[in-house]
């Protein structure tokens, strides 16, 4: 009714079903993420690296994209982003267990080096920031081929210090490409704090210097992220140019299973962040809007756990790669 005040999600054109799908994606990503740490402690996964605390930014961004049409050139924290674009818990667990059928790399790469052709998630490497230029190149091809495909790439705030980040944003800005760079700023690059990484509070302030749009977003608020991302996507498709989004997020875990953040990070700082868990915040919003009751939530959590259990079971039982295939796929000629 005209009298009822419009909700935030109405204003964004997100219906309850979309919202619950987004919630489910965040919950699933978190369930997978928690589980891989358990597997690591059990000695079943030699290496894990986490996206806990980044889920709202990633799922909010993914919601503004067309899976399989727009491109994601990801980085290693993008588990929730990949799940939202169609990666399954099994796809991921196959890489955690380094199995032959891992669709990311057939276990040639460490877990969280995402790549999924069917979802247009581009194969990623370890060297930070190289992907920015690939996204710029994909966007350039999209433009000259007259396609309306948008190239989205993610990186941490530490990665913005690299030359490739600059060269990629400069190129995108020159040609007003359908290019969006999402910087997931969690205040740390492993142990290096923000103050030693850059002389500015939000890297989005660099956007004007590249001739692109810049936005600083609360990456813990999935709706705010969706809104900023939708604007960016519209500009990209409309030929108005590129966007640099700085999403302020929190890194809940140590950098990776090889790190122990207690060595360099104040406990209070972390606890304060944990009190503002993006998933909790979204749950509270949905509950407040009467879109998510306790049983329903219970069910969603339960389903996620069941899916992850099944994925772990199947992945653990799957075949490792055959050593003989190590020589394959160096060139087209061999395999």
């Amino acid at each position: 009714m005209a009298t009822a005040k419009e909700t935030r999600h109405d204003a964004l054109g997100l219906d309850p079903e979309r919202l619950l799908t987004m919630y489910r994606q965040m919950v699933t990503a978190r369930a997978i993420d928690r589980r891989m740490w358990v597997l690591n402690r059990q000695g079943k996964a030699p290496f894990v690296i986490s996206g806990q605390g980044h889920e709202a930014a990633q799922v909010g961004a993914a919601a503004a994209l067309r899976p399989g049409v727009d491109w994601l050139v990801p980085y290693y924290r993008d588990l929730a982003f990949c799940i939202a674009l169609g990666m399954t818990p099994l796809d991921f667990m196959l890489s955690v267990f380094a199995r032959k059928d891992d669709p990311n790399s057939s276990a040639r790469q460490m877990p969280s080096h995402f790549g999924l052709k069917r979802a247009r998630i581009v194969t990623s490497s370890s060297p930070v920031a190289t992907q920015i230029l690939h996204a710029a190149g994909i966007a350039y091809a999209s433009k000259v081929r007259g396609l309306d495909e948008v190239a989205v790439t993610c990186i941490g705030e530490g990665g913005t210090s690299k030359g490739d980040w600059h060269e990629g944003l400069n190129f995108a800005g020159v040609h007003k490409l359908p290019f969006i760079c999402i910087v997931q700023d969690n205040d740390y690059a492993i142990s290096v704090p923000h103050r030693l990484q850059m002389g500015v509070d939000s890297v989005a302030k660099r956007a004007t210097g590249y001739g692109m749009f810049g936005e600083t977003v609360d990456g813990g608020d999935v709706l705010e992220m969706y809104e900023a991302m939708r604007r960016a996507v519209e500009r990209a498709r409309g030929g108005e140019g590129s966007t640099l989004i700085c999403a302020k997020v929190a890194r809940f875990t140590s950098h990776s299973s090889d790190d122990d953040q207690r060595r360099y990070r104040p406990q209070e700082e972390l606890e304060a962040l944990l009190r503002r868990d993006p998933i909790e915040r979204f749950r509270a919003y949905l509950a407040g809007e009467g879109l998510l009751g306790d049983e329903e939530d219970e069910r969603i959590q339960q389903e996620a756990t069941t899916d992850v259990d099944a994925a772990v079971k199947t992945a653990e039982a799957a075949e490792p790669p055959d050593p003989a295939t190590i020589l394959e796929r160096v060139f087209a000629e061999h395999g």
Partner: protein, 327 residues
Amino acid sequence: MAVKTLIEGVREALDEEMARDERVWVLGEDVGKKGGVFLATEGLYAKYGEARVLDTPLAESCIVGVAIGSAINGLIPVAEIQFADFIHPAFDQIVSEAARMRYRSNGDFTCPIVIRAPWGGGVHGGLYHSQSVEAFYAHVPGLKVVMPATPEDAKGLLKSAIRDPDPVMFFEHKKTYRLIKGEIPESDYLTPIGPAAVRREGSNLSCFAWGLMLHYCLEAAEAVAREGVEVEVVDLRTLRPLDKDSILRSVEKTAKAMVVHEDNLTGGFGAEISAVIAEEGFEYLDGPVVRVCAPDVPAMPFNKPQEDAFLPNPERIADAMRRLARY
């Protein structure tokens, strides 16, 4: 067949491939209106327009990284690095990214790109416009490394490189661009990437080279031939894949081997060729495997006396041939 320069071969290959396949595009510094600092892309801008003949920002990592991305999204880029000396900032994109796309994605993503760069000295280019960089890239699995020495090969190999489904490093010796002339077939031919070519038959020793040094070796071979030393001169043409069979066949025939390059001696690609011969051709050998290369100083100085002192020349090469023949 018309006699043309090596750079004309390059230009024709680019033009023909761009005309044949609209996915092919050229990017680099000054490749547009200017047509490249050596005019390799002259005329392409006018013919194919800015989108397909793009002057990039001054950033080599950008040039290669954007090329890679454009290949992921359906284009076939030919990236020009203005001088091989300036390819280093793109080292990470070439070695960590281009060379591994296929391998790391188990074949789901590929990287059909060509990276062209003028290399080599003898043009008073000084420390930073004269260098040989082939050894760095010929060491990297996932890359092909092509070094044409004749106009016919420059054209035929570049066309093959552009049609190759994997990344190809294509190095053109800048001094040969106009110095070396030769016939170029009118037909739409391709020169396969891989096979070496015996440029001169000989029975006393085998000499392996590429680029400008190939021509110096041929000169030297002429000189010592007058003294009865018959040198077989092999143009390797591509360093990776390396044509081991041709190398070993030649050494089996002559029992003596020599490698010549203008790159620094230590760790140059000549070492790999020596190593292959010393391991797989040991039984054939009747003398040491000799390397004639530039000294181990950081590239050739600008001043003429020292530039001359740096570069191997036909005289030095001929002396080495005589010594080895006498061995």
